[in-house]
């Protein structure tokens, strides 16, 4: 079944976007990326450490022949900082795509949605393909889309929390009304969380800590690949309705015994 994810005209076969932070080693990260089947990874933009050598080493561990690099603006607390960082990322990289973060608070790492919408507007005007990390508020999602975001990326739970999808109804409402892809970004803790996100109708899932922080990152990456796929197929396959009482799976007649009804 051909079921690609298309963002701003770019086609992805994989619906999982993975981070590059907090892995035990670059080698483990590379193995995890391969196991996840991801075609897009996020990276942060930081000052080169002039005391050490090996600037740019990270990219040597990413197979850019089939993995697209998505710079983020993590750590930015104002629209101006985010715009400045996005532009540096564009210069350092090879594309005009950005995972836009404008953080409101260091304890929750929730977005400052007002500044986020403003920065989205500025960067879209500047020719960027903007993928904003946002909260799960349907109104903000609508504003981001109106501002020209190429996708909206609502959180499932706080970054790195592993709590899973906290507000399924909001995410579903966002998806039901969105004209651009909806990527659930942040909060996934284990495979079923990713499956749930996809079953709600999400077009993809972005995660970092759930894989990088697992006891066995490549194995968890494989789990996430399968979970995102499973959730997507289940969404497309049309699940059965929920009932409070039972319905037999086997015929209720033709029994040798004198049973009343079949289970």
């Amino acid at each position: 079944m051909v079921d690609p994810l298309v963002i701003a005209g770019r086609t992805f076969t994989s619906r999982i976007i993975v981070g590059t932070g907090k892995y035990p080693s670059h080698a483990v990260m590379k193995a995890a990326h391969e196991a996840s089947g991801t075609e897009m990874v996020t990276v942060a933009v930081r000052r080169v450490d002039l005391t050490a050598k090996g600037a740019g080493a990270l990219l040597e561990w990413i197979d850019t022949s089939h993995i697209f690099i998505l710079p983020n603006t993590a750590g930015c607390y104002t629209a101006d900082d985010a715009v400045r960082t996005a532009r540096l990322g564009r210069e350092a990289g090879l594309s005009n795509w950005v995972k836009l973060e404008v953080i409101g608070d260091q304890e929750t790492l929730f977005p400052d949605t007002e500044a986020l919408v403003a920065a989205t507007r500025t960067l879209v005007k500047d020719g960027f393909v903007v993928l904003p990390y946002t909260n799960d508020d349907p109104i903000v999602a609508r504003k981001l889309e109106d501002a020209g975001a190429a996708a909206v990326m609502p959180l499932g739970a706080p970054i790195g929390s592993g709590l899973g999808i906290q507000n399924a109804n909001n995410l579903q409402i966002i998806k039901e009304r969105a004209g651009v892809p909806v990527i659930v970004d942040a909060g996934v803790g284990t495979a079923s969380d990713a499956a749930v996100a996809m079953e709600l109708g999400a077009d993809g899932v972005l995660m970092n800590s759930a894989i990088a922080g697992a006891s066995d990152p490549p194995l968890m990456a494989a789990a996430m690949k399968a979970a995102v796929f499973a959730g997507r197929l289940a969404f497309l396959a049309g699940r059965i309705e929920r009932k409070r009482y039972a319905t037999a799976s086997s015929p209720t007649s033709g029994l040798v015994t004198t049973a009343r009804r079949s289970g």
């Binding site: 981070g19 590059t20 990276v43 000052r47 600037a55 993590a74 540096l88 990322g89 350092a92 995660m207």
Partner: protein, 66 residues
């Protein structure tokens, strides 16, 4: 010559281009972005951009992030 390099007060032997600075620092220019007094400098112009005294220079690259 005094400059601010990635936020640190730094002494340079004298005026030099960004290309020269990167070479001096052993940094591969293709892997970084350079901001000179809050303006991003295209790679193509590294060789023709001369660093003035008290310039503020930022050299950034990609690192692991989520």
């Amino acid at each position: 010559m005094h400059v601010m390099l990635n936020g640190e007060p730094t002494e340079l032997p004298g005026p030099m281009t960004i290309a020269a600075l990167l070479e001096r620092l052993g940094i591969d220019g293709r892997m970084v972005a350079v901001e000179y007094n809050l303006t991003i400098i295209k790679r193509a112009r590294y060789a023709e951009t001369t660093i003035e005294p008290d310039a503020e220079i930022e050299i950034v690259a990609f690192v692991g992030g989520g």
